[in-house]
């Protein structure tokens, strides 16, 4: 009995000691490891702000990859700001914040409108360089534009159409909303290529200001009017997808040809599955890297003035098989 008692208590002692030690060790280790780091960081980094129309869009994502890659190399700090859907007011607010924060450079996906031009002017007054990417605002005081030449894009698609329809015919060009400058440029490009060919008849359909992304309805309307239409051009990504969907609903699409601009996974998928004939792809990562390089040039006063436009080449994508 006495033995048992001593044995039990000794075992208890050992067990409790082990547990105590275990917890003490855990506490000790965690407190030794996690001292709150409050180090002074010399903020000599150039702070670049990227303001995008749509966060999470493939374009922005690809751009970010390029930014971060060159930012690491050049000791710059890039912050990406933006809303989840294209919104001029938000974009203006971010421009304001960037200006008030006296950042070292603004990279922005331009929007049409006098407000934007005004903000760029304000930034320039404060000595902040603004570079537009992907979409341009040529009338503003932006330092340079990095991205595809949209006119050229239009021409590419135009020549593609010409190649495919030797006999000419009706071509419907669709934009879901009110045409932006980019879309206008693309349209212009297409028109320019097909200008010398009277057999080609262009039907241009655009939505209005307050109705965004209604390309599907627009296409349906057009199809009602022109049931014989075989050729479609979506002037933006949304329009491309809308055309494909509208045709699909009518049980058509296999014999029709759809052309689209922009490089989104959805469009690529449609091209791969043959529902869209071809689209244009850009190396967006390269846009990001190039714009960073230009900002750096500006900040270091090298090779000034900067070129007005730095165009990246667009490539016709016709599906994985490369039809």
């Amino acid at each position: 009995m006495k033995r048992l008692f001593i044995f039990t208590v000794s075992v208890g002692c050992l067990v409790t000691f082990l547990f105590t030690f275990f917890y003490a060790y855990r506490i000790f280790r965690s407190s030794a490891m996690d001292q709150m780091e409050l180090k002074e960081v010399s903020s000599s980094q150039a702070r670049i702000v990227m303001i995008t129309q749509e966060l999470e869009s493939p374009f922005t994502k690809a751009l970010q990859v390029g930014f971060y890659r060159s930012a690491r190399e050049n000791n710059m700090d890039v912050t990406v700001w933006g809303s989840y859907h294209s919104n001029l007011i938000e974009l203006m607010k971010y421009m304001d914040i960037a200006i008030a924060s006296k950042v070292d450079g603004i990279i922005v996906q331009a929007m049409d409108g006098p407000e934007f031009i005004e903000k760029v002017q304000k930034a320039t007054e404060k000595g902040i360089p603004v570079i537009t990417v992907g979409m341009d605002s040529p009338t503003s005081l932006r330092k340079t534009y990095v991205g595809p030449d949209h006119m050229q894009e239009g021409e590419l698609i135009g020549s593609q159409i010409r190649l495919q329809m030797k006999d000419g015919g009706q071509i419907c060009l669709v934009s879901g909303g009110k045409m932006s400058s980019t879309e206008k440029l693309r349209l212009e490009g297409v028109q320019r290529v097909l200008a010398g060919q009277p057999s080609f008849q262009l039907i241009i359909e655009e939505g209005n200001d307050d109705e965004l992304n209604l390309s599907k309805q627009t296409v349906s309307r057009v199809l009602n009017r022109y049931p014989e239409l075989r050729e479609f051009v979506g002037l933006n990504a949304e329009a491309g997808v809308g055309i494909a969907q509208a045709l699909n609903e009518r049980g058509r699409g296999n014999s029709d040809r759809i052309y689209a601009f922009d490089d989104t996974p959805e469009l690529r998928e449609f091209v791969d599955s043959g529902r869209i004939t071809s689209t244009l792809v850009n190396d967006n990562t390269a846009i990001g890297e190039k714009s960073m390089k230009l900002i750096k040039q500006w900040l270091q006063n090298e090779d000034l003035p900067l070129p007005r436009n730095v165009n990246t080449s667009a490539v016709v994508y016709m599906g994985k098989s490369g039809r």
């Binding site: 008692f5 001593i6 208590v9 000794s10 208890g12 002692c13 409790t16 000691f17 547990f19 105590t20 917890y23 003490a24 855990r26 506490i27 965690s30 407190s31 490891m33 996690d34 709150m36 780091e37 409050l38 180090k39 002074e40 960081v41 903020s43 980094q45 702070r47 700090d77 912050t79 304001d96 914040i97 200006i99 008030a100 924060s101 006296k102 950042v103």
Partner: protein, 481 residues
């Protein structure tokens, strides 16, 4: 000596140290945790304060624009000053993930201050429109600042998320450790107390058991307690006491035995005295009767009978003398003559005496009645069984400073066995048939006691060769008789 007091002090001291260390460690740790919490809290408070200052300054500017009061201007100035101080201290918040955000933040504050100063300037210049424009700018910036504050908060939370989690985990761990420590302390304390208590009580228990044993009269088992405190001292003393008591008891027992023996001896002595008194009555009467018989025989002309009776009477008288007084060998020999006369009358021609006595040797003292038993022995064993009788030779001579008395018979003799039996005092019938009632072994003992030496009597004998009893009496200084 490790006393009980010291033991108690040690136990208490150990306890105290344990508790003190634990308390200190926990306290220090707690202090550290609180400091960490304070740092975190201060960061948030600081950011919040900036946001507050920013909107306050806008409020004051707005009032100033409307009312142009100097007091409002002063209030604005003080808020602006605070804002600028806060801005200069922004660097203390810097960490890896909010570096550029903080710079932006600081710049926004600067922009706001600039815009507000422009408001003041324009108000003073009376340029209301510009003032309003700048005021809108500063209001916007103030909004941005409060948004940026929220964004900083969220960055802060993200950055230190792991740290906070660790802290929470740690506090849980600490709680658990507290419980386990309590359990451990309890266990250790139980164990120590138990050991300590049994360290005191076990020897006391052993001691009380020993005391019980002693109370029951068992003094044999020794008390051994191998601690080194007062109890052991007590045990040693107790053990000593036990030994003393045991010793005393043994002594008492011994004394009692002695007393009992003495008592027995006394009783026996009384009995003997009584017996001797009894036996003395008869011999005196017998002695007187024998004397009368001798005279009567002489008067009636039976001279031989008268002599015989006279011899018996002489022998009897000699026998009645005190046994403890030594006598001269001469007297002893004279008594022997009387005895031989009596025996001669009994055995007639069957017995022959030969006496070769050196008269120079007869002055030695010998114990009473030492020769007669041997001679009588010779008669019993040598003469009586033999039909043709025998010869008894008595020789007294000096040899090598000793006086030798030899009593020789030519009887059947003895074998080795009987001889050794006699010399061991186990002779069969050694005491039987003696007229004087004194046996051989008695004589041998008395002789040895009287002379203080061993081997006074030696017997040489072999079957068919007779027996020679030799008494070797050492010559000694004349003793007082």
């Amino acid at each position: 000596m490790n006393t009980i007091r010291r033991k108690i002090i040690w136990l208490s001291l150990c306890n105290w140290v344990f508790i003190a260390v634990l308390w200190l460690a926990l306290n220090i740790y707690n202090q550290k945790t609180i400091e960490a919490y304070n740092t975190i809290l201060q960061r948030y408070l600081f950011m919040n304060q900036i946001s507050q200052l920013s909107s306050n300054s806008v409020t004051w500017i707005n009032r100033y624009m409307d009312e142009h009061q100097q007091s409002q201007m002063d209030a604005y100035d003080s808020v602006k000053q605070q804002l600028e101080i806060a801005e200069s201290r922004l660097g203390t918040l810097t960490n890896t993930s909010n570096d550029s955000a903080l710079v932006n933040y600081g710049n926004m504050i600067n922009s706001q201050v600039t815009a507000m100063d422009l408001v003041v300037y324009n108000v003073r210049m009376g340029n209301r429109e510009s003032a309003q424009e700048q005021f809108d700018v500063s209001t916007n910036i103030s909004k941005f600042i409060s948004e940026a504050t929220l964004s900083l908060f969220s960055t802060e939370l993200r950055t230190y998320n792991e740290f906070y989690q660790t802290m929470i985990q740690r506090s849980h761990d600490l709680q658990k450790m507290g419980f386990w420590t309590l359990a451990m302390a309890s266990c250790i304390l139980i164990l120590f107390s138990y050991r300590f208590a049994s360290g005191i009580t076990r020897p006391i228990l052993a001691l009380s058991l020993a005391a019980k044993k002693i109370a029951l009269g068992n003094y044999e088992d020794s008390i051994e307690i191998k601690t080194n405190d007062e109890v052991s001292f007590l045990a040693r003393t107790f053990n000593q006491m036990r030994l003393n008591i045991q010793h005393s008891i043994t002594e008492i027992q011994h004394n009692a035995q002695l007393e009992a023996d003495l008592q027995e001896h006394k009783l026996r002595l009384k009995e003997n005295e009584l017996k001797s008194l009894q036996s003395q009555i008869n011999p005196h009467f017998l002695f007187n009767t024998l004397n009368i018989l001798s005279k009567k025989a002489y008067l009636e002309g039976a001279e031989e009978t008268s002599d015989l009776i006279s011899s018996v009477s002489g022998l009897l008288r000699y026998n009645l003398k005190r046994l403890d007084k030594p006598v001269k060998l001469r007297d002893e020999l004279a008594v022997l003559d009387e005895y031989l006369t009596i025996q001669k009358a009994r055995f007639m021609d069957r017995v022959t005496y030969l006496k070769e006595i050196d008269d120079l040797c007869t002055n030695i003292h010998v114990p009473n009645l030492t020769l007669q038993p041997f001679v009588e022995n010779a008669f019993i064993h040598a003469i009586e069984p033999s039909i043709s009788g025998g010869t008894i030779t008595i020789r007294v001579f000096k040899h090598a400073g000793d006086i030798i008395v030899e009593i020789i018979d030519d009887g059947a003799g003895m074998d080795e066995e009987s001889l050794s039996a006699i010399s061991n005092g186990l002779g069969v019938g050694a005491k039987q048939g003696h007229s004087t009632g004194i046996g051989i072994d008695n004589v041998v003992q008395r002789l040895e006691l009287f002379y203080g030496v061993q081997n006074v009597v030696s017997i040489v004998s072999s079957p068919g060769q007779g027996t020679c009893v030799r008494l070797t009496l050492p010559v000694q200084k004349e003793r007082n008789s």
